[in-house]
């Protein structure tokens, strides 16, 4: 039986593996695989934790107070809690440098999506136009992934942008502010649809509203950001656990994959790996190799393999990420109301806007403020901190943020390559990104529309608080080894099969030839399952 070796246990890797396992393949998965600590007091809600833990400050702020955001801190703020730091713990072998790009890397079991926000948005036929396969090829796998991970949502005005797939669970209970916004949308629907080309509806999220397979239904405990303690919120480590139940699956954690070795016929023979923490190299053989280490890490392994094979240092061009803008708002109708800590914490509403002149789809997620560390917000109010705190308390229930996403395209200016240390010969990943020249006009126009929408919904956008996130911050990386109909070097077939090495496949975002303005992970998982099913 063919032995398939997969690098990476992220969203792409686990769904690729599960499909192969179901087909009876022998699968080996190599992973750095940092492990999640057990959830504390799993039955407690967010506020129960503050009341019941003997040292809640240690839990929420960390042993070394790493979650405290001091005034003047630089760098993009993600709000990752201390108990999720393991997700970003990078092995010492892995080095990188970036210009114009602020990347995140994960070497955890389950990868970056162990800390994702669960937004599940299938790409539609229009958005797959630049992909070398037909949209209909993916729909079956949308259903399959939906069945595997559990997606809640509903069919509403946004269905015009989000294809409807099977196994859609009932939507989550809406938090107070989200439901007020949705009601306001219903009242102004006509105007918003026709004048502003804007549609509002329920988000689709990978969160269970009913119990199944050892995972509980969402209990609205408000701990999503700190790691769902009941498994209601999907992360790839849940699918990894499912893989463990197959006897044809072998998982090797604490392994850092370096590069492939080829034989005389240009086929890959083995992968050279190191145990993390040790400098000893080893080789592991297989018949077929699959890179699912995340676009950037898979690219590095590819670059290193070519570099080892012929000493060359090439560029993989076409790196993409969604530009995001954060637009905070205050819903004046909710001033003086009390917020509900017992709610689902991430976004429950989404917004689709069709660009007036571009005709393109822009994607926005509306997150109302519920449980969170709030000192980063309070300190941003330009008042003394006591007044800021009082005002914050009064408006808290009405605060929220729109995260507006823009599409991206493969361009020559955006690439990854290697830099070699002259003394040690070790390589580091170099990332270069330049936004498109005409970007700002589109951004401005779309932001203006969003502001108009918010005003119509009864909200104000406080001045000077909008934030243009750096490229890299949306963590939707793609495009460095694109699928192509033409078998050119540094591309893959429509099934992710490398045009450089016949027994190498790419199962992650590296192969996406375009990046629509939508969170890509659902399409990523479906595509990984598609390749595994159709090609194996």
């Amino acid at each position: 039986m063919t032995k398939v070796l997969i690098v990476g246990s992220g969203a792409s890797g686990v769904h690729f593996a599960l499909t192969l396992l179901q087909k009876g393949y022998q699968v080996i998965m190599l992973d750095v695989g940092r492990e999640r600590p057990d959830p504390v007091n799993p039955e407690d809600s967010f506020n129960d934790l503050k009341n019941n833990l003997s040292d809640p400050v240690n839990y929420f702020l960390g042993e070394n107070y790493e979650a405290v955001v001091y005034p003047g801190s630089t760098g993009e703020y993600y709000g990752f809690p201390p108990n999720k730091q393991y997700i970003f713990d990078t092995p010492e072998q892995f080095e990188w440098k970036a210009t114009g790009f602020a990347p995140l890397f994960s070497f955890a079991r389950g990868g970056l999506a162990e800390t994702w926000t669960g937004g599940v948005y299938p790409l539609n036929a229009e958005e797959l136009r630049d992909f070398p396969f037909d949209y209909s090829e993916l729909t079956h796998y949308y259903n399959e992934i939906s069945k595997r991970i559990g997606i809640s949502g509903t069919i509403d005005d946004l269905a015009r942008f989000y294809p409807v797939h099977d196994y859609l669970l009932d939507p989550l209970r809406l938090d107070n502010q989200s439901s007020i916004l949705l009601e306001a949308y219903q009242r102004h629907r006509n105007y918003l649809n026709t004048e502003l080309n804007c549609y509002l509806g329920r988000s689709r999220v990978a969160t269970l509203t009913g119990e199944r397979e050892g995972r509980k239904a969402c209990s609205y405990c408000g701990r999503c950001l700190w790691g769902c303690p009941s498994g209601a919120f999907y992360t790839p480590s849940i699918t990894l656990r499912e893989c463990f139940s197959f006897s044809n699956f072998k998982y090797y954690p604490n392994i850092y994959a370096n590069y492939f070795k080829t034989n005389r016929h240009g086929r890959l023979e083995s992968i050279v790996v190191e145990s993390t923490g040790m400098k000893k190299h080893e080789e592991i053989q297989a018949d077929t190799f699959v890179l699912a280490a995340g676009t950037l890490s898979s690219s590095k392994i590819m670059l290193d393999s070519i570099h080892r094979e012929n000493g060359g240092n090439i560029k993989l061009t076409g790196l993409m990420d969604n530009r995001q803008i954060l637009i905070p708002f205050i819903n004046l109708n909710l001033v003086g109301h009390q917020y509900d800590a017992e709610s689902y914490q991430y976004h429950q509403l989404a917004m689709g806007i069709v660009g007036e002149d571009t005709g393109k789809y822009y994607h926005a997620l509306i997150t109302t403020l519920k449980t969170a560390l709030v000192h980063p917000i309070v300190q941003n109010i330009p008042l003394d901190l006591r007044t800021a705190l009082n005002i914050f308390r009064n408006v808290r229930a009405g605060l929220g943020v729109v995260n507006l996403n823009f599409d991206d395209h493969r361009r020559e200016t955006n690439y990854v390559t290697l830099e070699t240390d002259k003394n040690t010969g070790e390589t580091r990943l170099l990332i270069n990104y330049l936004p498109p020249e005409n970007e700002s006009a589109v951004l401005k126009r779309t932001v203006k529309t969003v502001k108009k929408v918010l005003r119509k919904l009864g909200c104000i956008v406080p001045p000077f608080m909008m934030h243009l996130r750096p490229m890299g911050a949306s963590v939707h990386y793609a495009g460095t080894i694109p699928m192509s109909e033409h078998p050119a070097p540094l591309t893959t077939s429509k099934y992710g099969q490398s045009h450089d090495y016949e027994n190498l496949y790419f199962a992650d975002g590296s192969t996406f030839p375009a990046l629509p303005a939508k969170n890509l992970t659902f399409a990523l998982m479906a595509n990984a399952a598609r390749i595994a099913d159709r090609q194996f």
């Binding site: 506020n47 503050k50 009341n51 809640p56 400050v57 839990y59 929420f60 702020l61 070394n64 107070y65 979650a67 405290v68 955001v69 001091y70 005034p71 003047g72 001033v335 003086g336 109301h337 009390q338 917020y339 800590a341 560390l373 709030v374 000192h375 309070v378 300190q379 330009p382 008042l383 003394d384 901190l385 006591r386 007044t387 800021a388 705190l389 009082n390 005002i391 914050f392 308390r393 009064n394 808290r396 229930a397």
Partner: protein, 455 residues
């Protein structure tokens, strides 16, 4: 050996507490500790299970007598020390010791360790009632049928000790004030060295009616000693002033007589500056324990004081900032967390600060209005200054703590219109304070910048 029990007096004292921490508990069947009040137990270190508290008083022997029946050895450290009335010195140190000795004899105690003091050897103790009463205590012990050891420590140094506190206060003054000529010889001993010797004596279990004088490993003049502390505190040599003792003593003894409670010390205590406090080599103990060098003792103690002082300041800051933010004081947990954050984040320490930061920090710990004024200025002009960093840290701690997180969750009371009005008013007050604070801090910031540029 286990099976034999111990009776300790003075366990809540400076030396007693440290001894209790370092005692070889497992050697004893039971350890009885005489304390005066039930809630004094809170001052004791964590106790092993074979420790039993006896609530009583030296002067009321019936309160403790029955416990003595089980004990073979008594360590008698209880005493009126420091500043006390003449009556108390004699009542506790002489009469109290006499009563204890009698009870020991009656209840079959065999060994008696008496913690006396080197002061009993001073050539003139007629006005030094503490020394006189301790000397009387010694007599009681010597004349008893008990096997005794009398230990006369010299000056005992350790944090929290009264003597060290006095020296440290003296050394922190801008000038060095030296009572007397400063030429008397002293030989201070670190409390841990003393306790180590006590432990060794208890282990050897030899009570051979001996008097032992115990001092540190260095003798020096009082003046040299005070200078050492001063230099370590200030980082420079002191200008010193000697205060002649005789006239001072004369005045003090008059004040003592007619207004006994008016002064923080009494004339007797000043005797320590008149006579040598060194251990007689013939009465010293040959021991394998090495005494720590005096320099090291001083360094350790000053380091501790500085840390303690910075903890005290942080604790005050935490009180002032918490009150400023939520109109209630912090719990101990919040204080601890605030202090700990300063241990892990060195950026929160006030080194190299400009005038404005220093002024803001110094005034803030005094009043909540000062915090508000400083914060109003920083909110616009100096958003990442020290005081704002500290208040933001506290916000993070308060929002994560059980007793305070609700202050972030619940709106201030009142209807919507009232709330809008209230917020407007808060905004106006902020604007007024901002203008006021700018008038103070803005010129100071400019001066600071200019002077830095000039440098």
């Amino acid at each position: 050996m286990a099976g034999h029990s111990l009776f300790i007096t003075g366990a809540t004292g400076f030396i007693g507490r440290r001894l209790l921490q370092n005692l070889d508990h497992e050697r004893y069947h039971k350890i009885y500790c005489l304390i005066r009040k039930e809630n004094d137990a809170a001052r004791l270190p964590p106790l092993p299970s074979n420790c039993q508290l006896v609530i009583g008083d030296l002067n009321r022997p019936l309160t403790y007598a029955t416990s003595l029946a089980e004990c073979q050895t008594v360590i008698h450290m209880a005493a009126a020390t420091g500043k006390a009335t003449q009556a108390d010195y004699f009542q506790i140190n002489a009469t109290g010791t006499k009563a204890l000795v009698e009870q020991c004899e009656q209840h079959g105690v065999r060994n008696f360790l008496y913690l006396s003091t080197i002061a009993v050897t001073y050539p003139d103790i007629s006005l030094y009632f503490y020394a006189k009463s301790k000397a009387m205590g010694e007599v009681q012990v010597k004349e008893s049928r008990l096997n005794y050891l009398i230990l006369r420590p010299t000056i005992v140094l350790g944090h929290g000790g009264q003597i060290w506190n006095t020296f440290y206060k003296l050394a922190r003054l801008p000038f060095l004030i030296i009572p007397g000529t400063g030429q008397v010889q002293i030989q201070p001993i670190h409390i841990d060295d003393l306790v180590e010797h006590l432990r060794a004596l208890l282990i050897s279990d030899v009570f051979s009616n001996q008097i032992i004088e115990l001092g540190g490993n260095e003798k020096m003049s009082f003046e040299t000693f005070l200078r050492l502390i001063y230099e370590r505190v200030h980082g420079r040599s002191p200008l010193s002033v000697n205060i002649p003792l005789r006239p001072v003593l004369a005045v003090l003894s008059l004040i003592d007589r007619y207004f006994p409670d008016r002064l923080p010390f009494n004339s007797g205590q000043l005797s320590a500056f008149r006579f040598d406090s060194t251990a007689d080599p013939d009465l010293s103990l040959s021991s394998s324990h090495k005494m720590r060098p005096l320099n090291q003792t001083i360094n350790d103690l000053i380091d501790w004081e500085k840390e303690d002082e910075s903890r005290r300041i942080l604790s005050k800051e935490c009180d002032a900032f918490t009150y400023y933010l939520i109109r209630q004081g912090p719990s101990d947990f919040i204080r601890q967390k605030y202090i700990k954050a300063h241990e892990v984040n060195l950026n929160l320490h006030s080194t190299n600060l400009g005038i404005v930061d220093r002024l803001q920090m110094a005034t803030s710990i005094r009043s909540s209005l000062a915090v508000k004024i400083a914060d109003s200025y920083s909110a616009i002009f100096s958003r990442s200054c020290l005081i704002r960093k500290k208040i933001v840290l506290l916000l993070a701690i308060l929002e994560s703590s059980s007793s305070t997180y609700k202050h972030f969750d619940l709106p201030q009371g009142g209807g919507r219109a009232f709330l809008f009005g209230r917020m407007m008013l808060q905004g106006i007050i902020f604007a007024a304070l901002f203008i006021f604070s700018s008038m103070i801090f803005f010129p100071l910031t400019l001066i600071d910048r200019l002077s830095k540029e000039r440098k």
